[in-house]
């Protein structure tokens, strides 16, 4: 297991490097300097030169490339150009926690609701129940988050006045209800679909029939025999959604007015704030890689066969 872990961590390095290279050159190929304030007052050339020198923008591109990478490896993502009193690290510390809390709550909701609904859809003999659950999952997979957020805010916020229409007052307030649900809908639908399919596959296997023949009660069979085996694909699917739900949705955060990571990323792109763009993308990449690693590790916990295979 240790060797597997080391191998996986090593194989993440080229992925991260490619991501860094892509985003570095895309960010720097975008024309215009970060000091353009937009509008009709171009910046004084001498001031521009001083600013460029201060932030190393006068150096050749490959020097910038390596020096930024070296600093990032030591955990320093540089200063923000847009808001010069703050470093990228400050910005991440301020905006990422909001998105992480929101995303974690959404993922929790998706898994805790998705697994029982998926199991119910697979096990029920009633076509209406199965049909209803399948309809919810199709709806959840097709509806973009910005549509869900807007419709929920209009109906619950403007129409009924149950939730605030804009702003963020913390995780345990009414202001988080619509964003959490909008973020949770897509992973919820995916978990339902996937768990339903894999429960249906497991349902008629020999060991389930044996357990039933032994006289085990249905619920322990569903949980211990079927659920545990069907869980693995569902975890993989949930993992593939976790990264972008955790880091925050640009759309949900903009419509609902949440000061999160996703919204800041979009603002940074508009302002050509290279360090923020590169820094946020790198953090994004690290989170994706870590989540994929966690998903792989969860196989060891859930599936003794995976442990056995790696042990050889």
């Amino acid at each position: 297991m240790l060797s597997f872990l080391i191998k996986r961590i090593l194989s993440a390095i080229p992925t991260l490097l490619i991501a860094y290279t892509l985003v570095f050159f895309i960010a720097h190929a975008t024309p215009g300097s970060p000091w353009d304030s937009g509008g009709n007052r171009p910046i004084e050339p001498s001031i521009k030169a001083v600013l460029d020198a201060k932030y190393n923008l006068d150096k050749p591109l490959y020097v910038q490339y390596t020096s930024y990478l070296w600093n990032a490896l030591r955990g320093d993502f540089g200063p923000s150009y847009r808001d010069r009193t703050q470093s990228v690290n400050d910005i991440v510390a301020r905006f990422l926690p909001v998105s992480l809390k929101l995303g974690a709550a959404a993922m929790l909701l998706a898994v805790l609701l998705g697994l029982p609904l998926g199991a119910l859809a697979a096990l029920t003999r009633h076509p209406a129940v199965d049909g209803l659950i399948r309809m919810i999952s199709t709806l959840g997979i097709s509806m973009p988050t910005y549509v869900v957020t807007s419709i929920l805010i209009v109906s619950l916020g403007v129409g009924l006045g149950l939730v605030p229409t804009f702003g963020w007052k913390g995780l345990f307030t009414a202001s988080s209800l619509v964003p959490i649900f909008s973020l949770a809908l897509a992973p919820l639908a995916a978990v339902i679909r996937c768990f339903r399919t894999s429960m249906l596959e497991v349902m008629n296997l020999d060991f389930v029939r044996t357990a039933r023949a032994k006289g085990m009660k249905p619920l322990p069979i569903i949980i211990h025999h079927m659920g545990r085996n069907a869980l693995i694909p569902a975890i993989t699917v949930a993992g593939s959604y976790a990264a972008y739900v955790l880091v925050g949705s640009f759309f949900v955060e903009s419509i609902a007015g949440i000061p999160g990571f996703g919204r800041y990323f979009v603002l940074a792109i508009a302002a050509r704030d290279y360090p923020v763009i590169i820094g946020t993308t790198l953090i994004y990449a690290v989170i994706v890689v870590v989540i994929n690693l966690l998903v792989d590790l969860s196989y060891f916990l859930l599936d003794p066969r995976a442990r056995l295979e790696q042990g050889r």
């Binding site: 080229p14 992925t15 490619i18 991501a19 892509l22 985003v23 895309i26 960010a27 190929a29 975008t30 024309p31 215009g32 199709t138 709806l139 997979i141 097709s142 509806m143 973009p144 910005y146 549509v147 807007s150 419709i151 805010i153 209009v154 916020g157 403007v158 129409g159 229409t165 804009f166 995916a190 679909r193 996937c194 399919t197 694909p233 569902a234 993989t236 699917v237 593939s240 990264a243 972008y244 640009f250 759309f251 903009s254 419509i255 990323f265 979009v266 792109i269 508009a270 050509r272 763009i277 993308t281 994004y284 990449a285 994706v288 890689v289 994929n292």
Partner: protein
């Protein structure tokens, strides 16, 4: 009793079977009907009673009425006309960017699988890295880059491109972005299919008979990859519509005054309190279109390959 009577009934034609399949699937019929409506609106938007760009300050932000079926926006422009032109933008993006993305995906996937070895490894390592990120992230970066390059005063060889970009109202940038970022899934599906075909006996026989690589790819591999390509299209098309609206929503997609469902949602979101209809109608338009496309895609995948649709959870 003659031999003829014992012969199995002749197969119904392709069209008849398809028609029967559609008729027995009410969700599919509804979805197709809705998509036809959207297509008709997009094609014939100029025959609608109002113009999508005509401003009328006297009827700003008016709600749905007999004269303006879905109301008017903040500049007094008719919402139906704007939604119809938005549908045209969405469908243009969907068709054109899908052609670009699928073409790149087929090319990359076929080359990787057919060449094998080092080339395959290098290409797939790159594809895996792209796959590690949600496509939204790359699409936003790319679109911002293209908008920056072509949106301003370009000179030299870029000048005609910039002119085309400006004339298309940002459409060109969206097409390039979606085409250049949307090929990843296709390349994976095609690579897997070509890999499994590559060692088939008839391909080997063809090789032994002296056929060239290009001949084998063109005559044997590509035709047999067609179902997989169609399956890829069912994923790429809704994604293109979703991303176009997303990019326009953020402000790196279609430029105003050209209406796009994404920009309409963005401006509607600003007056959510007072004029919710400005947000709800474009949101419903894109939501229902994507829903219909997904229903049609599901049915198409079921028809083409039951195995893929069973494991679909991971791919969507």
């Amino acid at each position: 009793m003659s031999v003829l009577d014992l012969a199995p009934p002749r197969d119904a034609g392709m069209v008849t079977r398809l028609w029967r399949f559609i008729r027995h699937n009410p969700a599919l019929s509804l979805a197709l009907a809705f998509l036809l409506l959207v297509l008709a609106l997009a094609l014939f938007s100029s025959f609608l009673p109002h113009d999508a760009y005509r401003q009328n300050v006297l009827v700003r932000n008016s709600g749905p009425s007999l004269k303006y079926w879905l109301g008017t926006d903040a500049l007094g422009r008719d919402m139906v006309a704007r939604l119809a032109v938005g549908a045209r933008v969405s469908l243009t993006v969907a068709v054109a960017s899908t052609i670009i993305a699928v073409a790149i995906g087929v090319l990359v996937g076929t080359i990787a699988a057919y060449a094998g070895g080092f080339i395959d490894n290098a290409i797939m390592r790159f594809v895996d890295s792209m796959y590690a990120f949600p496509d939204t992230l790359f699409a936003i970066l790319f679109a911002a880059l293209i908008k920056g390059q072509l949106g301003g005063d370009a000179s030299g060889w870029m000048a005609p491109l910039a002119e085309a970009y400006r004339l298309s109202g940002g459409l060109l940038g969206v097409l390039l972005t979606l085409g250049l970022t949307g090929w990843v899934t296709t390349s994976r599906l095609v690579r897997a299919q070509v890999l499994s075909l590559k060692h088939a006996e008839y391909v080997l026989a063809c090789r032994l008979a002296g056929a060239s690589h290009w001949f084998i790819i063109r005559k044997h591999l590509l035709p047999n990859t067609l179902p997989v390509i169609l399956i890829a299209v069912t994923f790429v098309v809704p994604n293109a519509i979703l991303l176009e609206a997303g990019l326009s929503f953020i402000g790196v997609g279609i430029d105003p005054p050209t209406p796009s469902w994404g920009t309409m949602i963005a401006s509607g979101a600003q007056s959510i309190q007072s004029y919710p209809h400005l947000l709800v109608f474009p949101a419903l338009a894109i939501g229902l279109t994507l829903l219909a496309l997904n229903v049609v895609g599901d049915a198409l995948r079921d028809l083409l390959d039951p195995a893929v649709s069973a494991s679909r959870g991971a791919a969507t």
